[in-house]
């Protein structure tokens, strides 16, 4: 069972690095939004550093959506999904493996790159660290929530729009608590750990509900 899970994760990681894979897509998209904001707002460093965590989080949510529609659709189109349903492992485990691989190629690089990109929006050291930590804790929730939408729209061509409409509202709580935790670290009345704990709870809930819901959506026969 573990071997099947590891094989699935290894395959998806390998695919994302090959031609036509979406390896660096989210990271580049993330960088583009973060880099454009200072141009749009002007060189007001106080303003930038105040809204910096929010910009990083907003970019992370949008960057997660990029390529999410291909999460199950690519496998549905070429028949790989049929192969996975024939595997002697529950479909929930398949979903878990695919979402883990998705997070390793989108959420994790975003969180790791956040301190660097924080320079573009004039974040100080504490805020950089806090934003990276909240992204590390919160982006798995985005991947798991997104997986439910991706599973529902797996057999719909051009399902990207429906996917975004379906999952964006569900990502709002993660966004709210992610940004409030990142901002709490650099001052404010709320201690940092409170919103961070809520964020971690959201991720855990999304991991359970998202895995079950996405597997149920994939299992839904014609």
């Amino acid at each position: 069972m573990t071997r099947a899970l590891l094989a699935l994760i290894a395959r998806d990681l390998r695919l994302s690095g090959r031609v036509g894979g979406s390896g660096a897509l989210s990271l580049v998209f993330f960088l583009m939004i973060v880099a454009l904001v200072p141009f749009a707002l002007g060189p007001d460093l106080n303003l930038l550093s105040r809204i910096g965590p929010a910009i990083l989080w907003l970019s992370a949510v949008l960057a997660t959506l990029i390529g999410l529609d291909r999460l199950f659709q690519a496998d549905e189109e070429d028949g790989s999904l049929d192969l996975m349903t024939a595997a002697p492992v529950p479909l929930e485990l398949v979903v878990l493996g695919k979402v883990t691989a998705h997070w390793l190629t989108t959420g994790l690089p975003l969180a790791l790159a956040a301190p660097l990109f924080g320079l573009l929006v004039a974040l100080d050291g504490t805020a950089m660290g806090a934003t990276a930590l909240t992204l590390l804790a919160g982006t798995p929730a985005l991947s798991f929530i997104g997986a439910v939408g991706a599973a529902l729209t797996a057999s719909i061509r051009r399902g990207g729009l429906i996917l975004a409409v379906l999952v964006l509202p569900l990502m709002i709580p993660t966004l709210i608590f992610g940004v409030s935790a990142a901002q709490a670290a650099s001052g404010g009345t709320v201690p940092f750990l409170v919103p961070l704990a809520v964020l971690a709870a959201l991720t855990l809930i999304a991991a359970v509900v998202g895995t079950l819901a996405a597997a149920a959506a994939l299992r839904w026969p014609e």
């Binding site: 071997r3 390998r14 090959r18 070429d78 790989s80 049929d82 002697p88």
Partner: protein
């Protein structure tokens, strides 16, 4: 493994495709499913592989322990389940790790199908017939009792068709089952033929009688 199908009916988009389909297969048996285009051959295979829910009737397996039907079968069809950017060897290794019950190593399986040289080539570089042979090599990397083949000879040259006939004969000799939807003779000696025609299925029985 034994497979029995009782009064199976299929409905897609509100239209009745076939009904009252019954057959039973035991170890070493083969079934050739024939019928005009759109008669429901692929739908029957989709029901057996668990991708489509039957409208009525039931499919039962016996002598396979706790495994469910999708876990005892290999399906090779139009959607070959191969990733173009991975090499043939990587595709097969993934299938082997995912499906379990390993048999031949990917390189050996490819060599059996005359594609040993393609082991390290991305599947995107292969022709339609070569891709099909890589998909067929999956039958050999994992041991599963039931082979569901949808138009297995499509895009195959005559030499490869002979290899496929050989593989199917070997599989049946080892107690395996083969169900193939086809328009062409596959070289399935002593196979039963199930002809799906319009809304009613007419079954021509020969070897079925023998073991039943």
């Amino acid at each position: 493994m034994r497979l029995s199908v009782d009064n199976l009916a299929c409905r897609r988009s509100g239209r009745r495709i076939f009904a009252n389909l019954s057959f039973a297969l035991g170890p070493g048996d083969a079934l050739a499913v024939t019928g005009r285009n759109g008669a429901g051959k692929s739908s029957l295979l989709a029901i057996l592989s668990g991708r489509l829910r039957p409208d009525a009737g039931r499919v039962a397996v016996a002598d396979v322990g706790e495994a469910s039907l999708p876990e005892c079968l290999h399906a090779v069809g139009h959607r070959d389940g191969l990733k173009s950017s991975l090499t043939a060897g990587e595709n097969l290794l993934f299938a082997q790790r995912l499906l379990g019950a390993p048999r031949l190593a990917p390189r050996e399986a490819l060599e059996r199908l005359g594609l040993g040289h393609a082991h390290d080539l991305p599947v995107a570089y292969l022709s339609a017939g070569q891709r099909r042979r890589v998909a067929l090599a999956r039958l050999l990397v994992c041991a599963r009792p039931l082979w569901l083949l949808d138009e297995p000879t499509a895009a195959l040259d005559t030499a490869s068709q002979a290899v496929l006939a050989d593989l199917m004969a070997g599989h049946r000799a080892g107690g395996g089952l083969v169900i193939a939807a086809t328009h062409q003779a596959l070289g399935l000696a002593g196979a039963a033929e199930l002809r799906i025609e319009g809304a009613a299925a007419v079954q021509e029985v020969d070897v079925l009688e023998e073991w039943a």
